[in-house]
Symmetry: C2
Subunit: 416 residues, 2 copies
């Protein structure tokens, strides 16, 4: 995924979580090493893993619970009351279920905005998965003080997990809290993450209330001085895009969720023309409902083609960058972006010996236009294989996680 | 998939291509039978297989060859010249590659419009797959006489393969040929299949030329007296929808192809309100590029939600019907629609023990909103397992088919 790097035949050596060598076969040097395991990739593709730059993992318990509803009534009637019943321990198990699904889709890291950072971080650490938890404060849950405490406790420059400042959204968070988060950003020189301009009504309401779009309003509050990431960005004015570019903010697009909730189609082609940093997120399993980077990648390009009425809009190579290096940039994972010596060994093996990957004309286009979870043979995070040939190596039996997820779901449904 | 039939725990018995029993466990009767094989489904889902009601299978050789181009230049510059180099034997092997992909997606039958019915039928018969070949006559390939000969030779009421009357599209076929096909329809009391109103420019050009939309023009030519199926139907007037309903024509929607070629979004919600018969097709691998009913199902509902600006549009149960019983109706496969005694054993097993299918709230919604090829454990056509746990049982090694597909592709690319 490096600029101008062609796909080549060769090998990759890994130890101590990191890539030690990438290049052509080197039998002489390889013979000197005591290998723990050698894998014959059999002509399959090794590539950087995908980064899921926006999700709410533990919402797995609401999958297929309340589809076919508009965004606001869905949130108010079918999401918030059920979430209020969740315990931190529930979130631990439900997050693990999502992590399993990420692994089946070749996703090696997620930016996870949800309720209980302690058990979310625990779930990822126990699985060996890479997670950045994002502050989710709003008028109803969490506080600025809690966000600061979690930031102090969990924000790290290395290791599997970290924490970044964030809040739910402008439309759920009063000015006083936004100002508090803005102060934290300045105190820690830290980027900010939040939902932005997901639905047209959210933008219209902000304009009515403040005279500004959410993007401009948040800029005025000083929230973007250290950059960060904005989720969705479906309804963006020219001025909004200028703000995003000026502050080198990443836009994280969530195309499946935006369709399913009838929110709209983000102007990705326009953002690319402005060289805005782009990444892709699945959003949570209640709004998508699957956690599948292949579906998202196809949608990013196919919806851009439809939106622009131009079948040449947003080509496959751009989409692959969004899902890998763009995600790494949005999540501050500069060690997990490309397959180069010294980088973290966060990589996947794609099975090219499947009918949807044949014939082999153009592997990048095959991945974006016809790739599927079924092609993910192996997912490795920090040098450890967590998923291989349909089996999970995350310290807990798959069956146990399914059982827990069903128990929790049934309990909560019975309480309401 | 029967109306009002709930999903239940039980068993299904198969012999002589057919379903002999569906119901609760029946140990007493089962003990009397000499089983060739008993499969413990382990709580997974058995359901009718999907029907791919519109495709061009052998276009696998153009997968990832010419993406990111508008419909007409794509057809004229990147499809037609390459297709002219195909031999009947090429089409045999390339069709097999597509059949493999159908099997991985739980598709048990296809309606296949392409160039050489003899080798297309041979490919399906050799694999044990169910195919209806559709006449593809236009100004450049095939003739009305050939279509009649193939109809006489291959049209059958039972068996794995059949042939139906059809032509490529109004915009590629002169009036004289259309009249010839119309006469055949009357002679054989046979339905007609064709592409229709895929792009706005195609409709505008027909209106300019004839004063009528393609749908109305074709009705005037008497092409719909015995019903049939229309592919795409993206740009339809009220009058067009009246014509479709009046003649009990099935609309076969192809959402991924319509997005990728920037053709538009079909008015599925409006068609449902009018009780128009609906089915789903992947279209060919050059325009989609994958052959995946799960992606199509998600798109049918998600795009309808976006188009209608209503997240409650086109619910999951309706989409599942389109992909199964709707497809059977469109393809005249009345023996392959539901799991009932006496019907063909065309069925699939869906792995519910995967993270994207958990927790189990609502299996129909799980299938449509989060289902994936990865969930297809087994695909059975006419009582024979053709795909199980990632392996193919189609009389040829997978590796041989990949090799052939790559050879053919490289040869044709080198000739142009």
């Amino acid at each position: 995924m490096q600029e101008d790097q062609e796909i080549f035949d060769g090998e990759i050596w890994i130890s101590d979580h990191k890539i030690q060598y990438v290049g052509p076969e080197n039998k002489e040097e390889a013979a000197k090493i005591a290998w723990e395991r050698q894998i014959d990739a059999k002509g399959n593709l090794i590539m950087p893993g995908f980064k899921n730059a926006h999700t709410h993992s533990a919402m797995t318990f609401l999958r297929s619970h309340a589809d076919d509803m508009p965004l606001l009534s869905w949130l108010n009637d079918q999401v918030f009351p059920y979430e209020a019943k969740l315990t931190p321990d529930d979130i631990y198990h439900l997050s693990k279920l999502a992590i399993m699904e990420y692994l089946t889709s070749g996703i090696i890291a997620n930016a996870d905005m949800y309720l209980t950072p302690d058990t979310m971080i625990q779930a990822s650490e126990d699985c060996g998965f890479r997670t950045t938890v994002i502050g989710a404060v709003n008028d109803f849950t969490q506080s600025v003080k809690e966000v600061e405490n979690w930031y102090e406790k969990y924000h790290k420059e290395d290791g599997l997990t970290s924490y970044e400042l964030g809040f739910h959204a402008e439309y759920t968070t009063k000015r006083e809290i936004l100002e508090g988060i803005s102060e934290l950003s300045k105190k820690y020189h830290a980027p900010i993450y939040t939902h932005n301009s997901e639905s047209a009504s959210e933008v219209a309401q902000c304009v009515e209330r403040t005279g500004m779009t959410p993007t401009v309003y948040m800029e005025q509050l000083g929230l973007f001085e250290y950059g960060g990431g904005l989720y969705h960005c479906v309804h963006m004015s020219e001025e909004d895009l200028d703000v995003v570019k000026r502050h080198q903010i990443s836009v994280i697009t969530n195309p499946a969720s935006n369709l399913k909730l009838a929110s709209g189609i983000a102007p990705i082609e326009e953002m690319l023309k402005r060289n805005i940093d782009l990444a892709i997120g699945t959003d949570g399993p209640a709004s998508n409902n699957c956690l599948d980077m292949f579906r998202e990648m196809f949608l990013v390009t196919a919806l851009a083609k439809y939106r622009e009425n131009d079948a040449s809009a947003v080509d496959a190579a751009e989409v692959l960058k969004m899902a890998t290096t763009g995600g790494a940039k949005a999540m501050n994972l500069s060690d997990c972006d490309v397959l180069v010596k010294g980088k973290q060994a966060d990589l996947i093996m794609i099975d090219l010996h499947q009918p949807n990957m044949q014939p082999i004309h153009n592997i990048r286009k095959n991945l974006v236009y016809s790739g599927s979870k079924q092609n993910v043979k192996m997912t490795m995070v920090a040098g450890k294989i967590l998923y291989e040939d349909g089996e999970f190596f995350i310290g807990t039996d798959a069956a146990h996680i399914y059982e827990k997820a069903n128990e929790i779901t049934q309990r909560i449904m019975s309480e309401i």
